[in-house]
């Protein structure tokens, strides 16, 4: 019993030492001469470009969102696809492990017993809290290009509101609001919205996800505002997928893939 422990400690110490050695090579925090900040001879520096030109290019005050959804839009699209794939994998694994088993018998009878005051307090508090959480989630999604936030964060908060419903009453109550079929549809629709924006740009004879050409469709003042509005569109797509997948992961984990009872 001692021996494997010793090996584990040695392995951890060696790995930690190598990692610390690697960190010593990093440029210090905010170093203007680091490769990310300094200009390469003959071309402009990347961060300089984003800081000075991104508002002019996209009319989006939040620089992070404009990089995430426009300059690196292709990258973000596949991040969303990765989340989708992870959700599908969990769905497939847990569904195949627990899907064939019998539905669990309800042991404690009706879940709402007379005189069970703690249940009433928790249920009422969550009922009051859920609309506030959902409105805040929509604000985070819709305001993602003006302040910190965006599709990923807002989607997670929106999923949390459904999980709170599942925690305060039971999984069935949450599944009545967002059923299995509907969250799978929502996850697919989210990715289709994102990819749809890309394909629409291609149809209008430009590059994939080059939102500037959507100006005649979105009826905006110029290609910059078209970029801004398209970013909102793809953030909504991301939010759909993230909401659906996060809730799907919770619903499957808490019910061992049978989607009954839950916690």
């Amino acid at each position: 019993m001692r021996l494997p422990n010793m090996f584990a400690i040695i392995a951890v110490v060696i790995t930690g030492g190598i990692l610390l050695y690697g960190v010593s090579d990093f440029p210090s925090f905010g170093d203007p001469k680091s490769p990310a900040n300094a200009a390469v001879p003959g071309s402009e520096s990347v961060s300089q470009y984003f800081i000075t030109k991104s508002y002019k290019d996209t009319k989006v005050p939040n620089l992070v969102t404009s990089v995430l959804a426009d300059y690196r839009g292709y990258d973000t699209m596949f991040e969303t696809v990765v989340i989708f794939a992870a959700g599908m994998a969990i769905f497939a694994i847990l569904g195949s492990v627990g899907g064939g088993s019998q539905p669990r018998v309800q042991e404690e009878g009706p879940s709402f017993v007379d005189g069970d005051h703690s249940r009433i307090i928790v249920g009422t508090t969550c009922r009051l809290l859920v609309p506030v959480i959902q409105v805040f989630a929509l604000y985070v999604i819709g305001h993602g290009h003006y302040s910190p936030g965006g599709g990923f964060q807002g989607g997670v908060i929106l999923a949390a509101s459904f999980i709170i419903i599942a925690l305060s009453s039971d999984l069935d109550a949450a599944l009545r609001r967002l059923s299995e079929v509907n969250y799978l549809r929502l996850a697919c629709v989210g990715i289709l919205i994102y990819a749809g924006f890309g394909v629409l740009c291609q149809v209008l004879e430009s590059n994939f996800l080059d939102y500037g050409v959507l100006q005649p469709i979105l009826l905006t003042d110029g290609p910059e505002m078209a970029r801004s509005h398209s970013m909102l569109g793809v953030e909504i797509g991301v939010a759909f997928t993230v909401t659906a997948i996060m809730f799907a992961i919770y619903a499957n984990l808490s019910s061992r893939g049978t989607l009954r009872d839950g916690l």
């Binding site: 925090f29 939040n62 910190p148 936030g149 965006g150 964060q153 997670v156 999923a159 949390a160 992961i249």
Partner: protein
């Protein structure tokens, strides 16, 4: 970047990580992992990466703690090692 604030967060980060690894009750381990997530979120916010801090608060501290608790309820409560 405030040095003293940094040191406090990093010390608590190490303490939270060690406790969440060593505690036998898996439910408290996942709760303390949520604290670890919030401390990392503070660290991001303090370094000026507010977007990343927001994501960490929502995903790292919020949803993953809930998912871990959901998993613990479907296994044994106590760790065997």
């Amino acid at each position: 970047m405030i040095f003293a604030f940094d040191i406090i967060i990093l010390v608590f980060l190490v303490i939270a990580a060690i406790i969440s690894l060593s505690v036998k009750d898996l439910l408290s381990a996942s709760m303390i992992f949520g604290i670890y997530g919030f401390l990392i979120c503070l660290l991001w916010a303090e370094m000026g990466a507010v977007d990343v801090a927001f994501t960490e608060a929502a995903v790292g501290a919020g949803i993953s703690a809930v998912l871990m608790v959901a998993t613990v309820f479907n296994t044994k409560r106590k760790s065997s090692d």
